[in-house]
């Protein structure tokens, strides 16, 4: 269990949050043009990184807003949180 710093509400217990999986997966701009392979890539394939990973989280039992998080999945340490629409940090 860890404390999450919601960019809107501040530090709250992890119980209030819902994990939303890998971040920055772009919705296909022209879905009708996509091949089956590209659909599979978009829908199912995940990086599932052991180490620093970019994720989406939702403050489900709080402000209910979505935001992004950079987290080390090998030890659950949170590196950074930033709002939706903001550019991901480079490293």
């Amino acid at each position: 269990m860890f404390i999450i710093n919601c960019p809107y509400c501040g530090e709250r217990d992890q119980q209030e949050f819902k994990a939303g999986g890998e971040a920055h997966i772009e919705r296909p701009k022209q879905p009708t043009e996509l091949s089956d392979d590209e659909w599979a890539e978009y829908l199912f394939m995940r990086k599932n990184i052991k180490g620093v990973q970019f994720e989406r989280w939702n403050h489900a039992h709080g402000c209910r807003k979505w935001f992004n998080m950079v987290r080390d999945t090998s030890n659950d340490e949170i590196k950074l949180v930033y709002k939706m629409g903001e550019k991901p940090p480079l490293e």
């Binding site: 269990m1 992890q14 119980q15 819902k18 994990a19 999986g21 089956d36 392979d37 659909w39 599979a40 890539e41 829908l43 199912f44 394939m45 995940r46 990086k47 599932n48 990184i49 052991k50 990973q53 994720e55 987290r71 999945t73 090998s74 030890n75 659950d76």
Partner: protein
């Protein structure tokens, strides 16, 4: 040649104070080259090596394990074995495993303590009742034993369950698979390791894979912490770390690795002689031969490789357990732990070739891989040896995520994955 385990060898060794038992497996250094290398020395990996040697006559093979054998999810699960899955493909896969379980102790000359004590799945609302009845019919059509029980029959089969209509999730019925049950998880790994070792398989522990060497679209070997091993066939059975190995080969898998927790209580006298699972409240419980209650909780919803889960997951499970079994209210929990499970979007495993020749993946078992150990090993060995899947694992290919032909067991498989 291994000595056979029997009552006579037990007596014979008693005279030397059990100090001269033969080693169950060797501790070799890796050779330069193998015909096939299995990555991951858990139950599934060791079973794969065992059946490669036994049924496909591949003796020059190795199992590489980064820790010690059976130290990952094989030693962390709640040991439940059943085959009451909804879809035909899953029913075929899991019942194949269950049939092997039924003769496994004899086959391995190793007591895996397989106990067909039955698995009961509870229904707590009308939709559960409909789903479980549908699954019972589907199971029977596939030749898998299943019966539907009403509330009274549930109470009769497991008297300590609270079947009062006043509880938050009342018990409206359940299904029972009598052939299902439990086994000793460590013994499965040890038994397969001993069997494989006897046929000449090298089981190499403390050997972590660091890279997969490719020549174009074919595998040439693996880089490990004990040096480079040349081989044309690599079978990856790395559970929660499957994506990590896939990334080394430049492959992407449809997996997310999440923590799954379990816990055991202090040992008590026999109180529950079956396995009871509840999908709706996500609580399942059985009792080990030592007397501990073995309790399985759910997964966390975030990716993690830390082998730790959240406290509220355990708390939620224990709330449900206490409502269903008020008799456990004063039990103390002894140990709690987490394992990392690799979950597929359709909650079904992948036993498949890949786009790289000679690279095979056996992964995605999620929260329910233990029950499939012998069947998984048998079918994966077939896939590696013939470079083609067996008909029982053909549906569990990697291409199903492209074709859309998923084996969607989410919520259909008697327990939420």
């Amino acid at each position: 040649m291994k000595n056979k385990y029997s009552i006579f060898s037990l007596i014979k060794n008693a005279f030397s104070y059990h100090e001269n038992w033969q080693k169950a497996w060797k501790d070799p250094q890796p050779k330069k080259e193998y015909d096939a290398v299995i990555v991951g020395g858990g139950g599934h990996g060791l079973a794969t090596a065992y059946y490669l040697a036994k049924k496909h006559n591949m003796k020059n093979i190795a199992v590489v394990e980064k820790g010690w054998i059976g130290g990952g999810n094989t030693g962390r699960n709640t040991t439940i074995i059943r085959s009451n899955y909804l879809w035909d493909a899953s029913a075929g896969l899991y019942d194949h495993a269950l049939k092997i379980w039924e003769g496994l102790s004899q086959e391995l000359n190793y007591n895996v303590m397989f106990s067909q004590r039955g698995v009961m799945n509870l229904a707590h609302n009308l939709q559960d009742v409909r789903d479980l009845k549908r699954r019972t019919h589907a199971n029977r059509l596939n030749g898998i034993d299943a019966v539907y029980l009403n509330t009274e029959q549930v109470k009769k089969f497991c008297p300590i369950i609270n079947t009062s209509p006043d509880i938050r999730y009342p018990v409206l019925g359940g299904t029972l698979q009598r052939r299902a049950g439990t086994a000793r998880h460590d013994a499965v790994a040890w038994g397969y390791a001993r069997g494989a070792d006897e046929m000449g398989v090298d089981i190499i522990q403390n050997c972590e894979v660091k890279g997969i060497k490719r020549n174009g679209d074919s595998v040439e070997g693996i880089e490990t912490t004990k040096g480079f091993i040349k081989t044309n066939k690599v079978g990856v059975v790395a559970a929660g770390h499957s994506s990590v190995i896939a990334n080394m080969a430049g492959l992407r898998l449809p997996l997310e690795s999440k923590p799954l927790q379990a816990l055991v209580s202090e040992p008590v006298k026999p109180i529950i002689d079956t396995v009871v699972m509840s999908n709706a409240v996500h609580a399942y419980v059985s009792q080990s031969d030592k007397g501990e209650l073995v309790i399985g909780a759910g997964t966390d919803d975030y990716v993690s490789y830390s082998q730790k889960g959240s406290h509220q997951i355990v708390e939620g499970t224990l709330n449900a357990i206490l409502e269903l079994y008020p008799i456990f209210s004063r039990m103390r929990m002894l140990r709690q732990w987490g394992g990392i499970v690799d979950i597929c979007p359709d909650a079904s495993p992948i036993l498949s070739k890949t786009s790289i020749k000679g690279l095979y993946f056996n992964c995605g078992w999620g929260t329910g891989g233990f029950k499939a150990t012998p069947g998984s090993g048998d079918l994966f060995a077939h896939t590696i040896a013939n470079d083609e899947p067996h008909k029982l694992n053909a549906a569990f290919n990697l291409n199903r995520f492209v074709s859309g032909d998923l084996v969607d067991e989410h919520g259909a498989a008697a327990v939420a994955h």
